[in-house]
Structures are given as structure tokens and as C-alpha cells.
């Protein structure tokens, strides 16, 4: 009951100082931003149109430079879906591609090298319509002596799922950004992984740390703290309640932000991966550590500014320097292996020149002692970045195919991850920081 009283008091403070509105408002703003972007399936007809427009434009503008004398006009005719009412990924396509020349003679000459052209055109079409299955190009008898006519036909799409079909983002419901044409799950991945898990998490943690940094120093102000420590509640308990109160705020706010983003993304894309929701716990756990740092310095200095600065410093040292630093150092451990893998992927094993280089590539980038030191530091520092590995893995499991390179990368990172180690080392930090705070608070004269 005392805990609820303290929580209610913190809530009252947060509401009165508008902190609560700022926090939730910020989250809702992000939700709104994510929700303001829609996704429209790429239309094959528009795509084909765009292709021919571009081809014509290129030819007209660069004909001189290429010493081309004949400049045909490309166009699409008789476009049809084999299943007119089906979704774009559930139907086959057929259409005619025509090249119109100014002179009959030019057309005739071009037709003479047709054998080559069909192959070229087919490659070009397959490049453009990479999402269509078994696209074939064949010649059609011309309807006009000045033209060359091809039939382009595809049985269907490579995928039968909307999420794999390319989509354009549509800003604020109306402005399509046709430059981007990615499977819809790539956008979800972009939002969930890159924006929320990386940039968003850092910003959200920073803002939350700043906002919640005021609670404890305010409680410890002269004239206020006296009134609390004379209540029949042990000082460490009072401090811990206050800490858990701040954490609860952050948790609720994270729930608003993450669930909100998950909802709008789901409504927009119909992809409802659960992995992203698990990020709530990883974020809250990370924040528990930052807030413990903030609490310690709040108790030591009674100044919110000091608490904020020290939390930022902690973040900088442990998350940035040690976290990313260790990831980098760790990745150089198998330098030669990486090189080999790359060669295998590009099928260059038989390339003698490369093999020669490979033998010169050292096994590791750095001397062994550096790795020993890095491992030792990593063992005893809080695992902020480790938890990102987990969140990443959860998100990628929902959004990528098992054999995609991103997924493989995440799996490798996750394989080297130890739950017990990450949770226990970070928890020990939290416990030690809180114990120090409580000890100091309990023995201090106010």
C-alpha cells in the first residue's frame, strides 16, 4: 500500500510538472509518424510503363553519344492480368512491348538481329520484374510495318504473400515515394529494427533518463526529505519504491510506444510479428540499469543535472565505447575466415590472385593480448549491447527468411550470446548500484 502511495505521488508529480505528457506525447508522436506512412503494392502495369518511358528517354538523350542513328519509341500495349480481379501477387501477366521506328527500313534492320534482341529484352524484363515468376519474352508478328512487337508473359509472382511483394511507401496517405520498391516486410524491419531498436531505443532511453532523473533529487530536497524519512518506512525501502516507481513510468511509456508502433505497423502492413513486442522487456531492463546509475548519483549529489550527466557518461562509456567497441574487436577475430566466406559467396575460390591475397590476410586483425583484455573487460561490464542482439534476433525471426544474410548475421550473433551471462552481469550492476544508493541514503544526515 505504501508502494502504491509513493507511485501515486510520483504520478501526481509527473502530471503536474507536465513530464508525463511530454513522455507520452513523444511516444505518440513517433507512433503517429510511423502510422502516417502507408504502403502501396507496386503495379506491374505502372512498372512496365515506367520501364518503357525510361528506355525511350534514355535512347533519345544518349542516341548521339552512342552513335545510334535509329531511335525507337518503346511502349506497352494490350496489358492484361490473367486473373483480372486478383491481387497483384496472385495473377499472371501478359502484355506486348512494341518498339516503333520512324522508317519501315529501320524496323526491318532491327528485326534482322532479332534473335539477340529477344534474349536481351528478356534479361532486361527479368531484371525489372524480378518479383515475377518465369517471365518469358517472345516475338509477335508486328501489326504495323514500322514496329517490332514482343510478347512478355509471366505465369505469376514468385511469392503468393503480400509481404514479399514490392511496395512503395506513401507519405501522409497521398505522396507515393516510387523510388523505394521493397517487400513490405523490409519496411517493417526498417522501422522495428533500425529506427526503434537502434536509434529510437537510444533516444527513448536518453529522454526517459532525463525526465525521470528529477524524481529522486526532488524527493531529497531539504525540507521535503525530512518529511519522508520520518515516516515509518525504512529509508532503503523508500528509495527502492521510488526507483521502481520511475521504472514503472518508463515501462508504461515503453508499452505505449512499442505497442502503438506495433499496432500501426500491423494495421498498415498486416504483419503482426511478436518479436518486436518482446523489445519492451529488453528496453525496460536496459533502463533499469541506467536508472540505477541515475539513482546513485541523485542520492550522492541531490542534483538532477549531475544524475543526468553521469547517466549519459555511463551510456557513452558502456553502451558506445565498450558495447560497440567490443563488437568491433570481436568481429576482427576471424579476419581470414571472413575473407574466405566472402570469396566463397562470390565464387572466387579459383581466382589465383585472390587466393594469393587470402594467404597474406592474417588470421586475426589485432594481437592476442588485445582480445584477452577486451574479453576481460566485456566479462565484467554490463551487457547493454548484448540485449540488442536478442531484440534483433526476435525481430528478424519474424521478418526475414531463415537463409537471408541478415538473419544469418543475427543468428551468429545470437549463438555467441549467453542469456545467463548477460542477465546476471547486468543484474549484478543494478543490484550493486542500488545497494550503494541505499547504503548512502540510509546513513546520511538530512
Amino acid at each position: 500500500m505504501k508502494f502504491l502511495a509513493i507511485l501515486k505521488d510520483s504520478l501526481r508529480e509527473a502530471l503536474d510538472t507536465k513530464v508525463f505528457y511530454v513522455m507520452v506525447g513523444f511516444s505518440l508522436l513517433v507512433v503517429l509518424l510511423v502510422g502516417s506512412i502507408g504502403y502501396r503494392p507496386v503495379s506491374v502495369e505502372e512498372d512496365a510503363q515506367r520501364l518503357t518511358d525510361r528506355a525511350t528517354w534514355l535512347l533519345q538523350n544518349f542516341a548521339d553519344r552512342q552513335n545510334l542513328k535509329v531511335v525507337p519509341l518503346w511502349s506497352i500495349k494490350d496489358f492484361e492480368k490473367t486473373q483480372p480481379n486478383a491481387e497483384p501477387w496472385n495473377t499472371g501477366y501478359r502484355f506486348a512491348l512494341t518498339l516503333e521506328f520512324q522508317q519501315e527500313e529501320e524496323a526491318k534492320q532491327a528485326r534482322a538481329v532479332q534473335g539477340l534482341s529477344v534474349k536481351q529484352i528478356q534479361d532486361m524484363m527479368r531484371g525489372q520484374f524480378s518479383y515475377l515468376k518465369d517471365l518469358k519474352v517472345s516475338t509477335l508478328p508486328p501489326l504495323d510495318p514500322k514496329e517490332i512487337r514482343f510478347l512478355v508473359a509471366a505465369e505469376g509472382a514468385k511469392t503468393s504473400r503480400a509481404r514479399d511483394w514490392p511496395h512503395h511507401p506513401v507519405l501522409f496517405f497521398v505522396v507515393p515515394l516510387t523510388l523505394w520498391r521493397l517487400p513490405i516486410q523490409s519496411y517493417v524491419l526498417f522501422w522495428e529494427s533500425w529506427i526503434i531498436n537502434w536509434v529510437g531505443a537510444a533516444v527513448a532511453l536518453l529522454i526517459s533518463s532525463i525526465i525521470t532523473a528529477f524524481f529522486i533529487p526532488n524527493m531529497l530536497r531539504k525540507g521535503t526529505v525530512d518529511l519522508l524519512v520520518v515516516k515509518p518506512i525504512a529509508r532503503p525501502v523508500l528509495l527502492l519504491y521510488k526507483y521502481v516507481g520511475g521504472l514503472t513510468f518508463m515501462f508504461l511509456n515503453t508499452v505505449v510506444a512499442v505497442v502503438g508502433i506495433w499496432l500501426v505497423l500491423g494495421l498498415r502492413t498486416n504483419i503482426w510479428g511478436m518479436g518486436f513486442l518482446l523489445g519492451i522487456f529488453s528496453l525496460t531492463f536496459q533502463f533499469a540499469l541506467y536508472y540505477a546509475v541515475s539513482t546513485l548519483f541523485a542520492v550522492l549529489s541531490r542534483s538532477p543535472i549531475v544524475a543526468i550527466l553521469m547517466t549519459c557518461l555511463f551510456w557513452f562509456v558502456f553502451a558506445l565505447l565498450f558495447g560497440y567497441g567490443y563488437r568491433f574487436v570481436d568481429s576482427t577475430r576471424k579476419l581470414r575466415g571472413m575473407f574466405e566466406a566472402e570469396m566463397a559467396e562470390a565464387q572466387l575460390e579459383k581466382d589465383d590472385e585472390r587466393r594469393a591475397i587470402k594467404d597474406k590476410v592474417p588470421e586475426k586483425l589485432l594481437p592476442d593480448s588485445v582480445y584477452t583484455v577486451a574479453d576481460a573487460i566485456h566479462l565484467v561490464t554490463p551487457r547493454l549491447k548484448d540485449l540488442d542482439v536478442v531484440t534483433d534476433k526476435w525481430i528478424l525471426d519474424d521478418l526475414t527468411e531463415p537463409d537471408s544474410p541478415q538473419r544469418k548475421g543475427a543468428d551468429t550473433a545470437y549463438a555467441g550470446f549467453s542469456w545467463t551471462e548477460a542477465i546476471s552481469v547486468t543484474s549484478i550492476y543494478i543490484v550493486v548500484l542500488l545497494a550503494l544508493s541505499c547504503w548512502w541514503f540510509a546513513r546520511k544526515d538530512y
Binding site: L4, D9, K222, D226, L228, V229, K231, I233, D445
Partner: protein, 316 residues
């Protein structure tokens, strides 16, 4: 069993000796006043009793438990001197919050909040934020929260600070009321007139040491001094009284009669009655607490009697 008991209580703040071997005891149902100059250690003593500050040496007990015991604090009320109540609370919500921390059940809180705030004259403003209260109103809220949970002992550190004269009288009445309910009140104040009116016993603290302690009535009594007044028709027989061995001095309309040790005032009364004079006043003369305080404090510090020096004396 005393409610408050300290034995050779000593407190150092670094090199500052805030309290030196203070031994005091306060009995149940008393209003006890602690007097002293700025920096004498009054607030420090209260803070030690409440466990806000730790003692350096000696011992202190509150309600028969060592100070600092969390459990007994629900039986203690406290109004600090430079309080700063969270401004986001209203008078009512502050009492509710503190009440919850003090284990007052919700139903009791709901009933007592308007009652208590009415006692301190704040009922009309109880749902306004404390940030909008005047200084005296904040003081009243402070008093309200100190007595809200029906504590056995109440510590008031300068409760009338910033309160207008009418309000001060109300606060005195509240203290009397609390006393009548059997509560023990420990009061720090500079307003000696007030302390004199309300306290049963006082102690004077000087540089961390108790230099005087006792019942107010005893401390202010001036032995062997009486004030006598007679009915206006008569003339006071000054020479005759002097002749029978008393010193006489006019004191406004009254006469101050000085007795030697062992002497009684009765011969004077007999003489006046024998002359057929009507006696209208006969009072054993008292000192004001203020006189006593200044006298005691100066006596404890010989050589610092000149005001210029006093002003420069560091408060330590």
C-alpha cells in the same frame, strides 16, 4: 516513563559541535519548549530524536525505544522548520499521501482530512495546490500533517513562523487542545511570549549545551518580590513599611515590596489592613521569559555583553 529521554547526547557535524552532552527528559502529556539562539542546536536535537540525523555520542530514546526505530514513527508527528511540501499536492492530497505512508487506513483518512484541515482553518482551500498557498497557509498545512494521524508525540519546529497574530492564537489553541487529548508536544520557538503562555517546561540551549531547565512557572518566578496596590482613596504608607524592614519602590500605580530571605509579606498586609486601607493587588512578581532568557544567555557568556560584539559573534 518519559516520552523523550536523552543522556549526554552529543552531535558533531565535522568540526562543528552542534550538541554537547544534552540530557533532557519530557514527560507524557507535557508541552515542552526548547529555547536557544540561532544555531544553538534546537533543530539538530529534534532531528536526532526523529532519526533524520544520527547522533555522535550518548543516547536518545523516544517512546521508550532507541531513536531511529522506524516502527514507532507512526506515533510521531513532525513539523520541520524550513519545510517544503511538494507543490504538486493539494492540502488534502498531501494529507492523504502522508497518511498512507503512516498506515492510516483509507476510510479514516477520508474522514480526517476535512476535519484536520478545518482545525487549521484551511478547509476552504483544501483542494488547491500547495504551490498556491501563502506562507502562513503552508505553515497551517504543516501543522495539519503533523497531527493528522493522531500521534502521541508532536514535534513542532517554530510552528508559528510566518503566521499572523490571529493565526498564532489559533495555533496555540490547537496545541492546548492536543495537550488536553493527552499528547506530548515538543516545541522549538523564538517567540518567548508564546512559549511562556503555552509551555509547561522549557530548556534553554546555548551552543549545544543545556544551560537552564525547569517548569516555566518556577523559572520566571522572582523570589522575594511582591507588587502591592491599594484602593485609590488611600495613600500608601511608604515610610511605615520601610520602617518595619521592607524595601519599597513605586512601580506605576503599584508598589514593589522587596523581602529579605526568610521574611514574609504578611506584616505588610497587616499594616495596610490595620490602617484601614483596601488592598486591590497582591502579586508575587514574575520575570518575563524573555528577560530570563536574555539574562541566562548573557550570564552563560560573560564578556560578550556589548551589542557591537554580539553582532559580530559567529553563530557556532
Amino acid at each position: 516513563m518519559p516520552v523523550i529521554q536523552t543522556d549526554n547526547l552529543t552531535k558533531h557535524y565535522g568540526s562543528i559541535e552542534a550538541l554537547r552532552e544534552v540530557s533532557l527528559s519530557v514527560q507524557h502529556g507535557e508541552i515542552f519548549g526548547l529555547l536557544g539562539q540561532n544555531g544553538a542546536g534546537k533543530t539538530t536535537l529534534i532531528k536526532i530524536l526523529l532519526g533524520i540525523t544520527k547522533l555522535t555520542d550518548g543516547s536518545a530514546r523516544l517512546l521508550d525505544r532507541p531513536v531511529g526505530t522506524a516502527a514507532i514513527r507512526s506515533r510521531v508527528g513532525y513539523l520541520p522548520e524550513d519545510h517544503r511540501f511538494p507543490e504538486y499536492h493539494t492540502g488534502a492530497s498531501l494529507l492523504d499521501f502522508y497518511g498512507a505512508l503512516l498506515d492510516v487506513p483509507r476510510s479514516v483518512r477520508r474522514k480526517r482530512i476535512p476535519e484536520t484541515l478545518e482545525m487549521v482553518g484551511l478547509k476552504g482551500r483544501m483542494n488547491y495546490k500547495i504551490g498556491t498557498y501563502s506562507k502562513g497557509m503552508k505553515q497551517r498545512v504543516g501543522l495539519a500533517q503533523a497531527m493528522f494521524h493522531d500521534p502521541d508525540v508532536i514535534f513542532l519546529d517554530e510552528p508559528t513562523d510566518g503566521v499572523d497574530p490571529v493565526g498564532r492564537r489559533e495555533i496555540r489553541a490547537i496545541m492546548q487542545h492536543l495537550k488536553s487529548e493527552g499528547k506530548t508536544i515538543f516545541l522549538n520557538s523564538h517567540l518567548l511570549g508564546e512559549v511562556e503562555l503555552i509551555c509547561d517546561r522549557v530548556a534553554i540551549l546555548q551552543r549545544g549545551e543545556v544551560i537552564r531547565e525547569g517548569a516555566v512557572s518556577e523559572l520566571t518566578l522572582q523570589h522575594n518580590q511582591y507588587l502591592v496596590g491599594i484602593a485609590p482613596e488611600g495613600r500608601f504608607p511608604r515610610e511605615d513599611v520601610q520602617r518595619i524592614g521592607f524595601s519599597v519602590a513605586p512601580q506605576g500605580d503599584l508598589w514593589e515590596i522587596g523581602l529579605r530571605d526568610g521574611q514574609s509579606i504578611d506584616p505588610v498586609v497587616d499594616l495596610l489592613r490595620g490602617r484601614g486601607l483596601g488592598i486591590r493587588h497582591l502579586i508575587e512578581k514574575r520575570q518575563t521569559l524573555e528577560d530570563l532568557f536574555v539574562e541566562t544567555v548573557e550570564a552563560a557568556e560573560p564578556g560578550v555583553d556589548r551589542p557591537a560584539h554580539r553582532a559580530r559573534r559567529p553563530l557556532s
